[in-house]
């Protein structure tokens, strides 16, 4: 506790500095491609951070979290399709819709636990997925292009500028980490963590846990919806594939890989997961054969994920 300088924190600092420096480093290294790679990684990191709030601290393993990526993304694309490009409409719609959907889904699935919870979140997310597949007007399987990024109405903050886009994502990631950190340490976080440890006892000390878990579920949904909003803007494209159940599974893997009950673990997990799949796929087309076993090994032998290996203690890093 007295050692504030731990390997886990060093990695945290390193990753954040790297993220901050990529728009300058990448061109200098003659690898401009890495700017978009890191932008993507950070968006996944935001989504993984949001999942980790409920999964790592609330014990709610949502297998449908990617639905909110899609909801946030489609809010941008569909409004854009109808020539509504103002961010001041798109952003509240993306957030509001994610919140409402998370609220409804939460009311349904939070009455269950364990494997049932996992299956119901998956089923609910698949409903949203099939909704997007069946929306012919909005491109069905082919998805929808986005002509204009969300327009904040000022030339001082223009997402069309790729540097602005990049640092917006970076700032949102930092913001989400800050929010998660405060929430986890707060009274609300106490209830959330306690209910994941022993829900009956939390009720037995006078706390009606359902509503707290529901609010956490909604916060996580909104955070992930925000990631979807950013992803649509970055890629200028949405498709049902954003919320394919594979994506939800990858989010879980990233979180576990990085360290489930650590603050920064999901970010490290996203970086390791996406960089490894990037690198391995350039080495061999059979990269899944290496990647799969690697993930299994980490899950089996490093229960705390990468951050756990680095000696991170829950909550503090």
């Amino acid at each position: 506790m007295t050692h504030w300088w731990t390997p886990a924190r060093a990695v945290t600092a390193l990753v954040l500095v790297l993220c901050a420096a990529v728009p300058y480093l990448a061109p200098a290294l003659d690898e401009p491609f890495y700017v978009i790679v890191f932008a993507r990684i950070m968006i996944w990191a935001i989504a993984a951070v949001s999942l980790n709030l409920i999964m790592g601290y609330g014990g709610m393993i949502s297998f449908g979290h990617a639905a909110y990526l899609g909801i946030g993304g489609y809010a941008v694309a569909i409004l854009g399709f109808h020539d509504i490009t103002s961010a001041w409409v798109q952003l509240p719609v993306a957030i509001g819709l994610s919140a409402v959907v998370a609220l409804v889904f939460g009311v349904i699935c939070l009455r269950t636990r364990g494997i049932y919870f996992i299956m119901i979140t998956l089923a609910l997310a698949q409903m949203v997925y099939f909704l997007s597949v069946s929306a012919e007007r909005y491109g069905s399987d082919d998805g929808l292009n986005i002509l204009w990024r969300s327009d904040f109405g000022t030339r001082f903050f223009d997402l069309e500028d790729s540097v602005v886009m990049y640092y917006t994502i970076f700032a949102v990631l930092l913001g989400c980490l800050l929010v998660k950190w405060r929430i986890v340490m707060s009274r609300f976080g106490m209830v959330l963590r306690a209910s994941s440890s022993n829900d009956t006892r939390v009720q037995a000390v006078g706390v009606p846990t359902f509503r707290y878990r529901l609010v956490a579920f909604v916060i996580a949904g909104v955070m992930c919806g925000l990631a979807g909003f950013l992803q649509a803007n970055l890629e200028r494209f949405v498709s049902p594939d954003m919320m394919n159940w594979h994506r939800s599974g990858e989010l879980i893997l990233m979180t576990v890989l990085g360290g489930t009950s650590t603050l920064f673990g999901p970010v490290v997990g996203a970086v390791v997961f996406l960089m490894l799949s990037e690198i391995l796929s350039t080495i061999t087309i059979h990269w899944h054969l290496v990647f799969g076993p690697f993930l299994v090994l980490v899950v089996l032998f490093a229960r705390g994920g990468v951050m756990g290996l680095l000696g991170s203690r829950a909550r503090h890093d």
Binding site: R187, M190, V191, Q203, A204, V205
Partner: protein
């Protein structure tokens, strides 16, 4: 009898509960007063824990009523009952094993201060939580264990913590389900003294296997056998009751 009920803090009237074919509570009525300890004894499987679950709201009785301080609480959730001052402990230790001892008591302290929809200030930097939590740990003798992870405590200490968590909600009435389960003789004696002190400020329904403890502490005793109250009365009356001897006391050679 009616006078009893009028003065009582906690009243159960005609509770019934069955699990499939098994009748775990049959027409169970008990009234317990503030400032007194009402003990519930009976052999294993008699339905004592089921009774506590019904009183604390974790199980719904099939029929019957529960009143607390004059209000019908039969339909209230467990959490709402705690809000009214009715708290419980568990027979099978139910602490937050990954939390420190201090955090274990901070949560109930936080609960009694109102809702926990506070998202920004760290709970563990908040003196309004830490001070009462630390004071309570001193009171139950866990003061020097505050920073220990609850799962690492010795069994007896976990039992103390179990009780401390219930007390931290500042209840006016306590439902204690075998608080001495698995404790050593010294710890046992200390706990008997402690419960005796608590009695002045709390009503208490004490489910206990240890009959020495029960006869040392109880003002009234109800004997449960197969979900039925076969006897109820003062410790002296219960000692003399032939039915009790046969049904229960004889069985455990006391």
């Amino acid at each position: 009898m009616t006078e009893d009920i009028r003065n009582a803090d906690l009243v159960a009237q005609g509770l019934n509960k069955s699990f499939g074919g098994l009748q775990a509570a049959t027409d169970l009525s008990v009234s317990a007063r503030r400032g007194e300890i009402h003990a519930v004894i009976g052999p294993n499987g008699a339905g004592k824990t089921t009774f506590v679950h019904m009183l604390s709201g974790f199980l719904r009785p099939d029929s019957g009523k529960i009143k607390f301080q004059g209000h019908d609480i039969t339909d209230l959730s467990p959490a709402a009952r705690v809000g009214r001052g009715l708290a419980r402990s568990f027979q099978i230790t139910s602490v937050f094993r990954e939390f420190t001892v201090l955090e274990n008591v901070v949560l109930p302290v936080q609960s009694r201060q109102g809702h926990s929809f506070r998202f920004w200030r760290p709970a563990l930097n908040d003196p309004t939580l830490l001070e009462p939590a630390r004071a309570l740990l001193e009171e139950v003798g866990l003061g020097d264990r505050a920073e220990t992870v609850a799962g690492h405590l010795a069994h007896g200490e976990q039992r103390q913590l179990e009780l401390a968590i219930a007390l931290a909600t500042r209840p006016s009435f306590l439902l204690l389900d075998e608080p001495m389960a698995g404790m050593g003789p010294d710890e046992n004696r200390a706990l008997i003294d402690f419960l005796g002190e608590l009695k002045t400020e709390h009503g208490m329904l004490l489910v206990e296997h240890d009959l020495d403890a029960v006869f040392a502490l109880a003002d009234r005793i109800t004997v449960l056998v197969y979900g039925r109250a076969v006897a109820s009365g003062s410790p002296d009356e219960i000692r003399k009751d032939a039915q009790v001897r046969n049904a229960y006391l004889g069985e455990t050679q006391i």
